[in-house]
């Protein structure tokens, strides 16, 4: 697997949407390619207007940083900030024309050699309310492409 096709992206969205339904929160889910450019976005019925851009930006941030947005969120944790202000994540806040998201729910997608080939982001499921979060949904989406391509 080298590139994420539209067909694969739709499969990922479908799997992630199933988990959003399970969680009981309509959400937006986005899949982007290795350039962080959108391949497919869906906003489920009932999901708020802002969730689309947040899901796109989460997926973009995961590709851009090469890490789950959960890790970006941790960079802003004041308890983990070093002695010098700015050694944490503060300096990242204005990166990428303000597109970086520091909210969990975006994961990079990697191929067999751990190269980042895309990203997936979900927005709409509140964190810590139920067992399922945005991160759970994107992990389910990620798993969906490996079910058939391995």
């Amino acid at each position: 697997m080298e590139k994420i096709t539209l067909e694969m992206a739709e499969k990922m969205l479908e799997a992630a949407e199933r988990w959003a339904v399970l969680a009981g929160y309509p959400s937006s889910i986005a899949v982007v390619d290795e350039a962080g450019a959108v391949i497919a976005v869906h906003r489920m019925d009932g999901a708020g207007p802002m969730t689309t851009d947040i899901s796109i930006n989460k997926a973009f941030s995961a590709v851009y940083s090469g890490a789950p947005t959960l890790m970006l969120a941790r960079l802003l944790d004041p308890r983990l900030t070093g002695k010098t202000i700015g050694s944490g994540g503060l300096g990242l806040l204005t990166q990428a024309k303000l597109r970086l998201m520091f909210i969990p729910g975006g994961n990079p997608i990697r191929d067999g050699e751990m190269k980042v080939i895309g990203g997936i982001g979900c927005s709409g499921i509140p964190d810590g309310v139920g067992e399922i979060s945005d991160t759970t949904a994107v992990q389910a989406g990620y798993a969906a492409i490996y079910e058939e391509h391995d």
Partner: protein, 138 residues
């Protein structure tokens, strides 16, 4: 009638089918009546900027309730609307053809935007999206 994800998927599917027949690589965006994105697909290998252009066309068509190509007449230097191109418009205003409002009777329920071919080809794909995709709803 309100735009929903199922209708949006049908519209996009019909558009992509038409684009494939015409051998063009496109992005297709569907927004609701308020201009908010509902679904967007980019065909494999389609250029990256087509994503935002398609979305902008859909936004313009839905919020102005007219084809995106018609919006250009407001900017005519001889018309009182001249200067409208300097407005911010949410950064989404475009006058490039390829965005059509989605009409249910005389009511606008959303907009569809296509980018990837020439403006004329984009309009053809848009029309197919409405005639085959939106018409087949429910």
């Amino acid at each position: 009638m309100v735009m929903n994800i199922d209708i949006a998927k049908k519209v996009i599917k019909a558009a992509i089918q038409q684009a494939q027949e015409m051998n063009r690589l496109c992005s297709v965006a569907v927004v609701d009546a308020r201009g908010f994105l509902v679904a967007l697909h980019r065909m494999d290998q389609a250029l990256i900027p087509t994503v935002d252009i398609a979305r902008d066309k859909a936004w313009t068509a839905a919020t102005f309730r007219m084809p995106s190509s018609d919006v250009g007449r407001f900017g005519d230097p001889s018309s009182p609307g001249f200067g409208f191109n300097t407005q911010n418009w949410n950064d989404r205003l475009t006058t490039i053809p390829g965005g059509l409002p989605i009409m249910d009777g005389d009511q606008v329920v959303g907009g569809v935007g296509v980018s990837g071919g020439t403006p004329e080809e984009d309009v053809t794909v848009c029309r197919a999206a409405l005639d085959k995709g939106f018409a087949s709803k429910a």
